[in-house]
Symmetry: C2
Subunit: 334 residues, 2 copies
């Protein structure tokens, strides 16, 4: 017997209302009413992000349900991280072509594992029939004045990126080619496996976002490609940016799989990294070093904000011409 | 030249950030950063709803863009209304098969007209390419303890519905049959026109929701059919419900177009009404009358909450058997 919409929500998603560590007292009314009622603690502002993943656009047709659930929440957590916010609650709007209980179970479980890690509670949403897509709306909390904006950078501020970029783009390419896990893993190619995992299960930089509060002059999450997102940060700050391509932290897996040239391009222009790109005034670098240690997160200085508008990518002292300013879902460049 | 994702958001949707009457001071950071930062006023709780409209499921293929924009926001405002909340902010996640500027302009303008009426500000979201669907996440405010829940009804409480139901279902049927406006209007059939408008441009009962605070014992918005939603309210309250079919407020347009029998069925089981269904203790009926006057909204007593679980629809003293418990997007009943 087919489960109805309401049973379905209950069965798979009600358990997500109570992640491991979260105090539930702030959820006045959760799943099951017309809307959620939430108590925002005194002294906090609300941070709200809404992002949708569409099959065939944000993930290949046939992606593992667990990855889809993970990524739908991760991209929103990444938005909260880029603001320096503490995740609190999320809502889920799920559009499915049909009820497939195994799919739903995997989707919910991918979402729950990530939600537990970041202590964010599901409080509502809806499900409907249609082409597969997943909208998540994440709500976070921050003290007034502490949000990391794109617009605060100053000329001369140093530009950093957390972790590494390019892996997810290379991983997506492997996924698209149908280099299924069994093949590459059996091939004994751990590099390919690592890259695919970076695409399928990105780790939003929530702890780093917190650590950068009151320190980073500007911050953005890297979803559309490092160069494009660095330019957005610079433009929002009324500045331009110079990126030193030689400094980009390419992983060994990326170098091994894509080679140096293509790997560099993927690190600059590939999407789906969900790292943080941020600027810091030079005088505060010692503080940054301390905070990175505390957050247990690596970051690399890759450039500098400059007063001349636009993006300049420099390699071996020469200007690189990037074929595109990054990934744009509409113009279709990649 | 195709507009990119970011220009597109800016051009059509940035104006929606500042509705006519709204004080913008509570929007600390709006459209254009990774997430919105919002100041929740002291003494208020947050009310959050997320609903998606999918082409071919929630509206017929080829629906007017203005109606799609209106309805995407309206269904969420209706959720806030059902909680008794004051609308404050919304986010929009738009999935479009292609950029069509006329479509976008109409969509934005349908959304803006309704947003202005209810003083709710667009603060963020995203756009992507894919099968047409619109997710709106609405945020409202309410004082602690004032939210109208589904769960508060008591046995013996009288059940009311605002306005009238069934018109939208009849209007949708006319839309689906392709009874285009030009035909029915030229026919001099204002009834058909009125029904179609009820489907295309539902009016969320925000003022009524406010007026019912501290008075209604339970409340739900009617989106899946009056009988099904009344049963949801009763079940959440640990009760059952008896609906007197003869009391249902069918409009003259519905009677004229659908006839008495089918009209009654549509009023009971049709979806998309976005009226409020609520319960009130009998001793407080004088207060209800006053508040309905203040809110300038009609409501009709259609039944009573009873301790025996389940739904009983009675007509001329006999029990009616409803073919379905209402609209469910998955089981596909209508």
């Amino acid at each position: 017997m087919a489960m109805g919409e309401f049973d379905l929500i209950d069965h798979y998603f009600r358990p997500l209302q109570r992640p491991a560590g979260r105090n539930a007292a702030d959820i006045v009314t959760g799943i099951g009413d017309d809307a959620a009622v939430l108590a925002v603690p005194a002294g906090f502002q609300l941070v709200a992000a809404l992002d949708t993943l569409v099959e065939g656009v944000h993930f290949p047709v046939g992606s593992p349900a667990r990855s889809i659930g993970h990524r739908a929440l991760a991209v929103n957590l990444s938005d909260l991280a880029a603001m320096g916010a503490d995740p609190a609650w999320y809502l889920l709007s799920l559009t499915l072509p049909r009820i497939d209980e195994e799919f739903l179970g995997e989707l919910a479980s991918g979402m729950q594992a990530l939600a537990d890690r970041h202590d964010i509670a599901l409080v509502g949403g809806d499900t409907t029939r249609g082409p597969l897509s997943v909208s998540v709306q994440a709500l976070g909390l921050i003290r007034p004045g502490e949000a990391l904006l794109r617009a605060g950078g100053g000329a001369g501020d140093l530009l950093f990126v957390s972790g590494s970029t390019g892996d997810a783009a290379a991983g997506l390419q492997l996924e698209m080619r149908g280099s299924a896990g069994s093949l590459t893993d059996a091939d004994g190619n751990p590099a390919a496996h690592a890259l695919r995992q970076r695409f399928l299960y990105p780790a939003p930089r929530v702890a780093l976002g917190r650590a950068l509060r009151g320190l980073a002059s500007a911050c953005i999450d890297v979803s559309d490609g490092l160069a494009a997102d660095a330019l957005k940060l610079a433009t929002a700050s009324g500045l331009g940016v110079r990126v030193e391509a030689d400094r980009l932290p390419l992983t060994a897996a990326l170098r091994a799989t894509s080679g140096e040239e293509k790997g560099l391009f993927q690190a600059l222009s590939g999407g789906d990294d969900y790292e943080l790109c941020f600027s810091v005034t030079a005088t505060r670098l010692p503080e940054l070093a301390e905070r990175l240690l505390t957050a247990d997160c690596a970051a690399t200085c890759i450039g500098v904000l400059e007063s001349e508008p636009g993006l300049r990518v420099v390699r071996d002292g020469r200007m690189l011409n990037l074929p595109s300013a990054g990934f744009d879902h509409f113009t279709g460049s990649d």
